[in-house]
Every structure is written in C-alpha cells, then in structure tokens.
Symmetry: C2
Subunit: 223 residues, 2 copies
Amino acid sequence: MMSAMEIDKVLNVHNSAKKDSFDTVHHVDEPPKKAVNTYQESKMTFKGELEKREFSTLLTPSESMCSVLDIKEQTETAEENLCFKHKLKRGASTLKSASMTPSESFEDNEVLLGTGGTTVPRSEYEKLDFDKMKYTIAVRRLLNLKFTKEELATHSQTGRESPAFIGVKARKPQLDPVRVGDIRLHVAQKYNIDTSFVNNAITVALADARKSKKRKIKKNDSD
Amino acid sequence: MMSAMEIDKVLNVHNSAKKDSFDTVHHVDEPPKKAVNTYQESKMTFKGELEKREFSTLLTPSESMCSVLDIKEQTETAEENLCFKHKLKRGASTLKSASMTPSESFEDNEVLLGTGGTTVPRSEYEKLDFDKMKYTIAVRRLLNLKFTKEELATHSQTGRESPAFIGVKARKPQLDPVRVGDIRLHVAQKYNIDTSFVNNAITVALADARKSKKRKIKKNDSD
DNA sequence: GTTCCAATTGGAA
DNA sequence: GTTCCAATTGGAA
C-alpha cells in the first residue's frame, strides 16, 4: 500500500509527464495569501504590486517595458493614476497621451469602458452590435480587444488555483484586473445583468483561449 | 519512467484509497452511449428505462419499492402514465391518488410545476416567496421538496462523468429528469431567465448536497 | 474554428 | 450550516 505522500508524488509526475509542455506556467510572484474576492480589492492588489515594481511577471514583455517607462513618471495624485492606467493600453497613442489629460486624448477616438480608465478604439467599439449579441460574445470581443491571445491563454481571472486541482495544475497569473474589471462592469451595465454572469463568461472565454492555443501547438507538432 | 497506463493505475488507486468510503457510487446501468442534451430527450430515456423495468438502480430503496408496486398497474395510455408519474411523489396521498384522475386529486392540494406532471403540495408552494428569493434559492427549495437529501447527494443532473475526472471519479446516476425538468422549467418561467442559469443552480445545489453529506459522515466518524 | 455545457473541488461569504 | 464562486476538463452544438 502506498502512503498518501507517495501517491501525491506520482500524481505530480503524472501531471508533469503529461502536460508539462503546455500547462506548466511558471511565474515568480507568490500565490495570494488571501483570495481576492471583490474586484475593488483585486484592483488594489494590482496597484500595490505596481508600486512595488513587482508586477512585470503579470504582463507581456511589451507591456512590461511600457510600464517601466511609465513608473518613472508616476505620482500619487488620482489624476496621474488615471493617466497611468490609460498608458497601459497598447498602441501608437501611448507615448502621445503622456502629455495630455485623459479627457483630451481619448473622448473622440476612444470609448471609456469603466472606472479603471480602460478604453477601446471607438471604431472597434461601434462594430459591436450589443443588441444582437449575447453578453457572452460581447465579453469575448472586448477581451480580444484588450488582451492578446497569448495573455488570454496563459492567465486566469483571479490568479487562484483550481480548487479541484490544488498542487496538481500550475496556478496561472491573474489577467490585469483593471482592464478585466472595466470589461466586466461595462458588459454588466450594458446588459443589466449581475457581474457574476459576466465573470462566468470570462472564465469560459479564458478556458477556450487556452484550449485553442493547445490545439494549435498540437497541430504544429504533428506537422 | 512510468508508462501512461501504470500512472493511470496509480491514479485510480489514489482515488479509491482517498475517497472510496464516500465517492464511489456504484450502479449497474451502463453510461449513456450518447450524452443527453435536451431534456426532452432525457425524459424519453427515463421513460424508456421505466418500460424496461430497469430503472430501480436510479431510485432510493423506498422509491424502488413504490415503483415496483406501481408498475404492476401500469398501462400504455397517456393518462395512466401521467398518473404513474404522480405516484412517484412521496407522501401519504400516494396510495389514495391511485383511484383518482390527476385533475381531481391534485388541483386543489397540489401545484403542477411543469409539463412532466410534477407537483408539490400547495401548502409548501405557497410558503415560497419567489419575489424575495433568488432563483438559486427557489431551485434549492423545490429540489428539497421533490427529492431526499440522499438522492441529491448521490445523483447528478445529467448522469455524465465530470470531463475533468474521466476514469477517476465514479459517475453518479441521473436525478429523475422528469421532476428535475419540471423544476427547471418552472423556475425559468417564474423568473423569466434562461434554463441554462437554472441548470447551473441545480448543479451547484447537488454539489453542495454531496458536501453536506460528506461533512456529516466525517463528523460521525470522529465521534 | 468557436462557443457553450456540467461535474468536481476547497474555500470564501 | 448554507450558499456561492471560479479553474479545470472533454465533448456537444
């Protein structure tokens, strides 16, 4: 008879043998001591990490570089923080916006999604026909506008491990909670539904992004 | 290096060593060849099993006995089938109702939930303040009226294995899809929401019933 | 190729 | 003690 510890060891071998090539997303930051449950809290956590300059592991390389530049100019005023958040956005306007207030730089070409300052290009936003779209699809479109496929495939909404696979599946880092929070709020208000439904749609969308990447890898391997 | 088969063997040992006392719900009927996806289909499956007199494994002992008695009287007419379904209901009126048509026996004291003929006692139904209750709570109350805690703890909504634990966790038999279907429809109409939300609430309620039973067993063990 | 679904889990609320 | 939550999965739609 094997001891529980021996069995767990084999379980981990099993897991890494089978899945290490894709599922093991390593990152250096520690798991949250306490689970983040309100998205107000998660936003604060994210900001806290920004201030400690430890958040680069949460971002893609291009964003990390951008953020390092931005941090040099960061001050403690609310206005500056808003501006800072805007600058997290990808795209050519990033540098230009540094010298403008948010209201000047974005109200014409960008649509503000939520209170976190996340925007999407107006031209893209106006393509979204919310009336004919299920909220789950709106969630997916907005996620695709604000994140790369790679980010969606490698991050989770909360950064927590699956309770059903603790110690078995690698924890994935949290998707930038500011942008996610703004998308969540925007869709919930647009459709007048509880955010819990939107959260579920986000979770499913991320799972699908992951499987999509997985399939692509498998296909390339067999070629 | 272990082969995949050896690892799977250990996985199963691990599972049964850890959970056999509670999680292994054995039943003799085969897994569905095709997944049941519409509840119209699942209803037909259930009826089909009734007619083959093989469904006793789906029921608790007391209900099985009841059903065996009822089957003796079963005919092929629609009216009789309706009556048969009514008799699946627990309670003192079971025997009495055998000599009445549904409309005579139930419209005063029972509330019809859906098209499957499932009813709940009017006195119980009127205690439910749907306006002040979330639909998730309504689902739980109605499930508790139509199923025992034991059934809720040992059955699943579809009878399918968890895709995340295929070959690891024992499949649980399907909760009587007629009663579940009527509850689903009733709540969806009452709250004017999509049945998929109701389904999710049912899934969560069953998971909680299972954990509740688990905790009780653990508590008794440690006494 | 994309979207949706439901079983499982531990822990938060 | 009860209810809700989100990560994971394979497969259906």
